[in-house]
C-alpha cells in the first residue's frame, strides 16, 4: 500500500529555520579554485517589455458555498466505510469501473465563484443546450450566470480537497519545492495598467524558485522554461485593463512530479486572468478543461488507495463522478463528455523567464 500520508505529513510539518543564519556550521574555506571555463549558456533572456512570474501558490479555486452545500455530508474513505459497514472496500483504483461506489457524494447545490463562462452557455442540468452534457453551471459573485467549474461538482464533497486541506498543502509545497514550478510570461507590456495587446504564455519549469530564509519565494529570480517544449503553452493574446489581463483560449500542459505522482496536467481551451499588483507581484486564475482520464490518472491510478484513504473518497466513486460531471470535449458518438471545466487560482512573484 503506497503511503501518501507519511510524506504529506513531512511536507506539512514545514521547516524550522532559526532566527539568525540558519545555515548551520559552515564549510571550511577551501583553496581558491582556478576559474573554470564556462560553457556557452543557452537560452534567451526576457525582453525589456516582458513581465515574468513564478507561481508561489497554485491550487483549486474555492467557491463560496451555502452551508448545506453537501447536504448528505462528506464522502468516506475506505477505512471509514469499513467502520460503518464492517467491510473494507477493495482496491479498485486501477480498474475503477469494476465496482462503482453507489454512495459517492457530489456537489449538487448552487454555488458562487468568480470565473469564466468558458463555453458561452449558461448551462442548467434540466435544460441542456444542443451538444452539451447536462450540468448546472455556477454563478459569479455579481450574479453572472454560466460560470463553468464542473470539477468542483465532482470533488466538492471530498474533505481532502477543501480549502486548507491536504491537497491544498501539497499543491502549495509542490509549487515552491521544484515538484511543480510554473512560470507565466506577459510580453509586449507597454503599460502595466492598460494595454490593448499583451501576449501570455504559461510554462512548466524544471528549476526551483529561489527561496528565502523565511521559506517564501524571493522575487526577481531567473528560471528556465522546461526543456521539453510540450510544457510550453500556446501563446494567447489578451487585453490588460486596470491592471488585470484576460487572455485565451490556449492549451496548457503542466508537469507534476509530486511525491508519488509523476504525471501531467493538461488544461484545454484555457483562459488566464492575471492581476498585476503594485508591489510587482501578481495573482489570478487559470480556467480550462481538465480531461477526465488525466485527472483520474493523478488521483486514482497514481495516488491510489492510499490517496483515497488520506483524502477520503473511493476511487470508483471518484471516477464515476468525474465522468458524469464532465462538460467539455463532447463526443457525439457516445453523447458523453471527456473533460471537466476547472478553475485554478494562483499567486506569483516577479521572475525572469529564460526561454
Amino acid at each position: 500500500m503506497r503511503r501518501w500520508i507519511a510524506p504529506l505529513m513531512v511536507v506539512l510539518a514545514g521547516c524550522g529555520g532559526g532566527s539568525g543564519s540558519a545555515d548551520g556550521p559552515q564549510s571550511l574555506p577551501t583553496a581558491t579554485p582556478a576559474v573554470a571555463p564556462s560553457p556557452t549558456p543557452r537560452g534567451e533572456l526576457p525582453r525589456a517589455d516582458s513581465l515574468g512570474f513564478v507561481f508561489t501558490s497554485f491550487g483549486f479555486d474555492y467557491p463560496t458555498s451555502a452551508p448545506d452545500a453537501c447536504p448528505l455530508g462528506w464522502n468516506l474513505s475506505p477505512r471509514e466505510q469499513q467502520v460503518q459497514t464492517g467491510v473494507l472496500p477493495p482496491d479498485d483504483c486501477q480498474d475503477p469501473e469494476a465496482n462503482v461506489d453507489p454512495d459517492f457524494l457530489t456537489l449538487g447545490t448552487p454555488a458562487v465563484i468568480e470565473g469564466f463562462d468558458l463555453d458561452g452557455i449558461a448551462s442548467a442540468r434540466n435544460a441542456p443546450v444542443g451538444s452539451e452534457c447536462a450540468h448546472d453551471d455556477f454563478t459569479g459573485p455579481s450574479g453572472e450566470p454560466g460560470i463553468d467549474y464542473q470539477l468542483w461538482r465532482a470533488i466538492g464533497c471530498i474533505r481532502g480537497f477543501q480549502e486548507g486541506g491536504i491537497v491544498q498543502n501539497v499543491q502549495d509545497d509542490a509549487v515552491v519545492d521544484g515538484s511543480m514550478t510554473i512560470l507565466v510570461e506577459l510580453r509586449g507590456v507597454d503599460d502595466r495598467v492598460n494595454d490593448d495587446e499583451v501576449e501570455v504564455q504559461v510554462f512548466a519549469s524544471a528549476d526551483l524558485p529561489p527561496i528565502g530564509s523565511d521559506q517564501q519565494v524571493l522575487p526577481y529570480g531567473t528560471l528556465n522554461v522546461h526543456p521539453d517544449a510540450r510544457f510550453h503553452s500556446e501563446v494567447a493574446t489578451g487585453r490588460l485593463v486596470d491592471g488585470v489581463l484576460t487572455a485565451g483560449p490556449m492549451d496548457i500542459l503542466l508537469r507534476l512530479n509530486i511525491q508519488i505522482v509523476k504525471s501531467e496536467l493538461p488544461l484545454r481551451d484555457a483562459w488566464v486572468k492575471v492581476r498585476l499588483l503594485p508591489d510587482g507581484a501578481a495573482s489570478g486564475q487559470i480556467h480550462g478543461y481538465w480531461p477526465v482520464e488525466a485527472a483520474y490518472e493523478v488521483f486514482g491510478r497514481q495516488a491510489g488507495y492510499a490517496g483515497a484513504d488520506a483524502l477520503a473518497y473511493t476511487c470508483t466513486g471518484l471516477y464515476a463522478a468525474l465522468k458524469s460531471h464532465a462538460d467539455g470535449d463532447y463526443d457525439p458518438a457516445s453523447g458523453t463528455c471527456g473533460s471537466l471545466s476547472a478553475i485554478y487560482q494562483f499567486t506569483a512573484q516577479p521572475a525572469f523567464v529564460v526561454k
Binding site: 529555520g17 532559526g18 532566527s19 539568525g20 543564519s21 540558519a22 545555515d23 559552515q26 571550511l28 574555506p29 577551501t30 583553496a31 581558491t32 582556478a34 576559474v35 573554470a36 571555463p37 564556462s38 556557452t40 549558456p41 543557452r42 537560452g43 533572456l45 526576457p46 528549476d207 529561489p210 528565502g212 530564509s213 523565511d214 517564501q216 524571493l218 522575487p219 526577481y220 529570480g221 531567473t222 528556465n224 525572469f352 529564460v354
Partner: protein, 579 residues
C-alpha cells in the same frame, strides 16, 4: 569644487566573446596587453610584453626593510599540500587562524607563531594528509623506490623518499641532518607496526610539521656588492615568487631553476617572473590580494550574518557568491583586460550568478556559475563600492553602517588613517532623541555636528551616506523608514550626487592609485614599508600615474626591486617583550 556626473564617458568596449574565461584565452590576452586604461588621468599606454631589462634603470636606490619568517596562510597551506602531494588529498579540520596586521593577513603572517591548540590541529591534519598521500593514487609518484620488504623498515628507500618529498615540502634541498632524523622515525615506525608504508607516513607527517614547512623561512646570504645588507638566496626567491604570484609552493621548474642559482640573475629572474605572470595561476595570487585587502576572510569563515526576519534574501550562499563576484570582477578588470586599477570604481561590468541576480534584480542566463553582466549606462550601481560583498561585509547584521563603510574606504582604499574614537566621550550630547531619525544620516547627525566626533566622522560618514541606497545586505532601497535617502556628499573636495558619482570621485582621486601601490607593497613583502623604500614608492607612483595603474606592471616593479630581493637583516624582537 568639481561636480562629477553619475555617468562617465568610457572607451568603447571591444565586442566579442571575451567573457569566455578559458585559461588559454586569459593567457593570450594577458600576454599581449590590454585595451588601455579606463578612468584616471594620463595617456593610456599598452604595457609592453615581458619584463624589460631596463625596468628599474632610473629608479632610486632602496634601503630594504627587515626580514621575518611568514607562516603559511590557510589557503597557502592547502595549496602547497595539494601541489606536492596531489589534489585528491583532503585537508580537513581547521588550521590556526591567520592574524591581521597593518591591514593584511599577509603582514600578520610575519608575526604569528603557533599556539598549543594550533599545533594540535596541524598535527592531526599532518597525520591525515600523510596517510592519504601514501595510501592514495599519488603513491607511485611520491615514493621513488621499492622497499626490501613491505612489512619492515628500509632505510635506503625511506631516505630517498624523504629527500624527494622533503625538498618540495621544505622548498629547498635537504641536508643530512634534515633527512636522518626522519629516516629514524620511518625505521622505528615501520619496525614497530610491521609496515614500510606506515614508516613513510610517520616521516611525511614530521615534514608537514617542520617549521620550515609551516613557515616560509627564506634564507639570505651576504650581498656581494653591499656590506650593509643581505640578499635572498636563489632558492628563497623561488618561494617568494611563487607564494606572491600563485599563492602556492614553487613548482618543480621554478625550484630546479632556483637550485641552479638562476633567480639571482636579473634576466633569468625576469624570465621566470614573466612565465608566472602569463600563467592563469596568476589569478590565484591576485585573488588573494583582494581577499586580504577587503577582509573577505570573514565571508569565507561564515562570519557575515544578517537578521533572517529583516533580510530573508540573505544567505551564506549569497554572500559567498558576492565575494566571488568581486574577485572575478577585479581579476577580469586587472588581468584579463589589463585595465587601470582606478576603473574598478566605475566599471559597469561585473560577474553575476543566479543567486546574486535575485538581489540585483537582473536576469542571469547561466543556470550555474557566473557570467559577465554589463549594467546599462545610467544604472544605479557602478564600480566595486556598489558590490554586495563590500556593502554587506561593512554593515551590521540588523542595518547598514555608513561609518563602517566609510572607514573601509578611507583606511583600505585611500590609505588614510582614521584615529580611534576618544576614550572619555561625553555621551550626553546624544540624549536628544527628538527630531527626525529615520535615516542613518539623521541618526549620525550628532556625530557629524559635534566637534569632538566630527573630526573623524566627517572622514567616514559622508562616504557611507553615498552608499546608503544599498541596505545592510546591499539590496537597493530608495528610502529608509519612509524617509527618502540622500546619497549626496563630497570626497576630498569632489562632490557627488549618488553612489555612481562616489565611484567616479574615487576613480579620480589622486590617493587611490598610490594606496593600491603601498597596499600591494605591504602585501607582497609581508611587512610595513621601510623608510628607505619610500623614495622608490614615490618613483613608482610617478611612473604609474603617467602610464596607468596596471597590476602586472606594479608586480614587476616590486618583484625586480631590491625591496623584494634583499633585506637589511632579520627583524629584531619588539622592545617591550615580557614573557
Amino acid at each position: 569644487m568639481r561636480r562629477i556626473r553619475g555617468e562617465m564617458v568610457r572607451s568603447p568596449r571591444r565586442a566579442g566573446l571575451r567573457w569566455l574565461l578559458v585559461p588559454a584565452l586569459v593567457a593570450a590576452i594577458g600576454c599581449g596587453g590590454g585595451g588601455g586604461s579606463t578612468g584616471g588621468g594620463g595617456t593610456p599606454t599598452t604595457p609592453p610584453p615581458g619584463t624589460p631589462p631596463d625596468l628599474l634603470a632610473d629608479a632610486p636606490a632602496i634601503e630594504p626593510g627587515t626580514a621575518a619568517m611568514r607562516r603559511l596562510t590557510e589557503v597557502q597551506y592547502k595549496a602547497s599540500i595539494a601541489d606536492v602531494l596531489g589534489d585528491d588529498v583532503v585537508v580537513g579540520g581547521r588550521v590556526e587562524l591567520d592574524d591581521r596586521r597593518d591591514g593584511f593577513l599577509a603582514v600578520g603572517s610575519s608575526f604569528v607563531s603557533v599556539t598549543p591548540a594550533g599545533f594540535e590541529q596541524y598535527d592531526g591534519i599532518a597525520r591525515s594528509v600523510a596517510e592519504q598521500a601514501i595510501r592514495g593514487s599519488q603513491r607511485a609518484a611520491l615514493v621513488p623506490c621499492e622497499p626490501v620488504a613491505a612489512t619492515g623498515a628500509d632505510d635506503a628507500c625511506a631516505r630517498e623518499f624523504v629527500r624527494q618529498v622533503g625538498r618540495r615540502l621544505l622548498r629547498r634541498p635537504l641536508d643530512d641532518g634534515d633527512v636522518e632524523s626522519r629516516v629514524v622515525v620511518a625505521r622505528e615506525t615501520a619496525s614497530e607496526l610491521g609496515s614500510f608504508d606506515a614508516g613513510l607516513e610517520a616521516a611525511l607527517a614530521t615534514l608537514l610539521l617542520s617549521p620550515e614547512f609551516l613557515f616560509r623561512i627564506e634564507a639570505t646570504e651576504p650581498d656581494p656588492g653591499r656590506s650593509d645588507r643581505e640578499r635572498y638566496s636563489s632558492v628563497a626567491m623561488a618561494s617568494r615568487l611563487s607564494y606572491l604570484l600563485w599563492n602556492t609552493t614553487p613548482d618543480e621548474e621554478l625550484l630546479a631553476a632556483a637550485e641552479r642559482d638562476e633567480l639571482l640573475d636579473d634576466a633569468s629572474l625576469a624570465a621566470h617572473l614573466d612565465r608566472m605572470l602569463d600563467s592563469p595561476r596568476l589569478e590565484d595570487g591576485v585573488r588573494v590580494f583582494f581577499d586580504d585587502q577587503y577582509g573577505f576572510d570573514q565571508i569565507a569563515q561564515g562570519l557575515v550574518r544578517k537578521d533572517a526576519t529583516l533580510f530573508p534574501a540573505f544567505s551564506q550562499a549569497l554572500i559567498r557568491d558576492a565575494r566571488e563576484q568581486t574577485l572575478l570582477t577585479a581579476t577580469d578588470h586587472l588581468l584579463t583586460e589589463d585595465a587601470d586599477y582606478r576603473g574598478l570604481f566605475t566599471t559597469r561590468r561585473l560577474f553575476m550568478s543566479r543567486t546574486l541576480g535575485v538581489v540585483y534584480q537582473v536576469p542571469v542566463l547561466s543556470p550555474a556559475g557566473f557570467e559577465p553582466h554589463d549594467l546599462p549606462s545610467g544604472s544605479d550601481r557602478a564600480g566595486i563600492l556598489t558590490h554586495l560583498s563590500l556593502l554587506a561585509l561593512y554593515s551590521q547584521p540588523g542595518r547598514s553602517s555608513p561609518t563602517l563603510r566609510g572607514k573601509f574606504v578611507r583606511e583600505v582604499l585611500l590609505c588614510q588613517d582614521v584615529p580611534p574614537p576618544p576614550g572619555n566621550i561625553d555621551f550626553s550630547m546624544f540624549e536628544d532623541q527628538s527630531g527626525d531619525r529615520r535615516t542613518a544620516r539623521d541618526r549620525l547627525r550628532a556625530h557629524n555636528d559635534n566637534q569632538a566626533c566630527a573630526g573623524c566622522h566627517a572622514l567616514m560618514d559622508p562616504i557611507g551616506f553615498g552608499l546608503e541606497n544599498m541596505d545592510s545586505m546591499g539590496a537597493w532601497r530608495a528610502s529608509e523608514n519612509g524617509a527618502e535617502i540622500d546619497p549626496s556628499g563630497q570626497l576630498n573636495g569632489t562632490s557627488y550626487d549618488d553612489a555612481v558619482g562616489l565611484g567616479a570621485a574615487m576613480a579620480g582621486d589622486p590617493l587611490v592609485g598610490p594606496c593600491l601601490v603601498q597596499s600591494f607593497f605591504r602585501f607582497a613583502l609581508g611587512r610595513e614599508i621601510a623608510p628607505g623604500e619610500r623614495a622608490f614608492l614615490d618613483w613608482m607612483n610617478a611612473r604609474l600615474s603617467e602610464r596607468g595603474y596596471h597590476l602586472r606592471e606594479i608586480i614587476r616593479l616590486i618583484v625586480m626591486s631590491d625591496a623584494f630581493r634583499s633585506t637589511s637583516g632579520p627583524r629584531a624582537a619588539a622592545g617591550e617583550a615580557r614573557s
